[in-house]
């Protein structure tokens, strides 16, 4: 029996994202505004644990994917840090017919071309650091 897909499950962090603590309320506001702008049905967010590198909540969402249109992350900076971890996520999403969206960056992943862009971004970001403060410092 085909399960009817319904909505985009939000996904927020309770730990720092790219070195910054973003209040969950702010993360959720961004998700809600993005979903509204893109006319997506937004489902209340799952909150990842604060322990470093934990993706227990994300992994637990796998079971619910068949009933979802996809996952809505606050930012691409919340993706698993390893290539293998991200690959597992993309495979789980695609095999369940789901998409992945990032509200802050307004990026969407629905096929391997989109994955290639995200992976380029992840690789390039790893290689570039924060700028110095000010012009002449």
């Amino acid at each position: 029996m085909k399960i009817q897909k319904k909505g985009w499950r939000g996904y927020v962090f309770s730990r720092a994202i790219n070195g910054q603590m973003i209040p969950q309320r702010v993360q959720n506001l961004v998700l809600r505004a993005y979903a509204e702008q893109k006319e997506l049905q937004y489902l209340l967010s799952a909150t990842e644990y604060h322990m470093p590198d934990s993706f227990m909540i994300l992994n637990s969402l796998s079971a619910a994917l068949p009933g979802l249109e996809g996952l809505l992350f606050y930012s691409i900076n919340m993706l698993p840090g390893t290539t293998e971890g991200r690959r597992r996520l993309y495979d789980a999403l695609f095999s369940a017919g789901c998409g992945l969206r990032f509200a802050l960056e307004e990026l969407a992943v629905s096929n391997e071309n989109d994955v290639a862009l995200i992976e380029d971004l992840m690789a390039c970001r790893r290689l570039s650091a924060r700028p110095p403060v000010g012009i002449l410092s």
């Binding site: 862009l117 380029d120 690789a123 390039c124 570039s128 110095p132 012009i135 002449l136």
Partner: protein, 276 residues
């Protein structure tokens, strides 16, 4: 100590023309460059014109000629509707998948000379429309770096009309801008207008005709004033930077996307990801 302003500590890596460009860019912080493939610019302008007429509901005999429309937009868009019109145009141009690559290709030679050949490009193209005598869309004297943008970014400023005098923008060349940065404590309680008056004699007003573009470091002080000429200014602008140079408040992914990644880098990415 002022930065070194020579292209090549070791000679022979850049050809003569490139070296001259680099030395000049280092000295001034900007360059006005010719655009390649003028037909792509003409085509982009035609698409903009068609969309503008749609937004304004003009059909048939009510359509002005393209040149008339761009030069005299004030006849068709009242100031109070300018912002909504501009936002409608921005939505259109950022839905135009051809525009970003076309802008890059048109200025590619000089972008590569000034930035490099692995480049990140801003995801959205900005549009400025400055009607004659309109004080509602001014950009006071500023450095983008003062608001957290990366000093490694350059702006490609590309006019859709001839831009000159007050219809254009002004810039404070690199030596003078850097003097302000070094002596900033003397200016920190000024407002933008007072700072403008203080540096006014040193400002350069940039004449950029249609078919050319301005490439400049947005760390330099720059801005515009009321357009006192008789015709309207239309300009695109977009930021570019070395893909692997540090990012500021405009991050890779959120505000920038890779435009060009070379094979050696991709092979390197692959090799790094295989490491345990």
């Amino acid at each position: 100590m002022p930065p070194k302003t020579k292209a090549v500590p070791v000679p022979g890596f850049f050809d003569a023309e490139e070296s001259i460009f680099i030395d000049s860019f280092l000295e001034h912080g900007y360059a006005i460059v010719p655009l390649a493939g003028r037909e792509a610019l003409d085509a982009a302008r035609k698409r903009m014109y068609a969309r503008a007429l749609e937004l304004l509901g003009r059909k048939g005999s009510k359509c002005p000629a393209l040149e008339t429309f761009f030069d005299h937009t004030e006849r068709f868009v009242p100031v109070e509707k300018l912002n909504a019109f501009r936002l409608g145009m921005i939505e259109h141009l950022n839905g135009d998948a051809l525009l970003r690559p076309a802008m890059y290709r048109m200025a590619r030679r000089h972008i590569e000379w000034a930035v490099g050949n692995e480049v990140a490009m801003q995801r959205t193209i900005n549009l400025s429309i400055q009607l004659p005598k309109d004080a509602s869309s001014l950009l006071p004297l500023h450095s983008d770096v003062w608001s957290g943008n990366s000093p490694y970014e350059l702006v490609l400023w590309l006019p859709l009309v001839d831009c000159f005098k007050t219809k254009s923008m002004y810039i404070l060349p690199r030596p003078d801008s850097e003097k302000i940065f070094r002596e900033f404590s003397a200016y920190k309680n000024f407002d933008a207008e007072k700072l403008f008056q203080a540096v006014k004699p040193k400002l350069v007003w940039l004449d950029v005709p249609y078919g050319r573009a301005l490439l400049f470091s947005h760390s330099l002080l720059h801005g515009n004033r009321v357009n006192d000429e008789s015709t309207t200014r239309w300009t695109f602008n977009v930021r570019l930077k070395g893909l692997f140079t540090p990012y500021g408040v405009k991050e890779l992914g959120e505000s920038f996307l890779p435009a060009t990644i070379r094979p050696a880098t991709r092979i390197g990415f692959g090799a790094v990801s295989l490491e345990k």
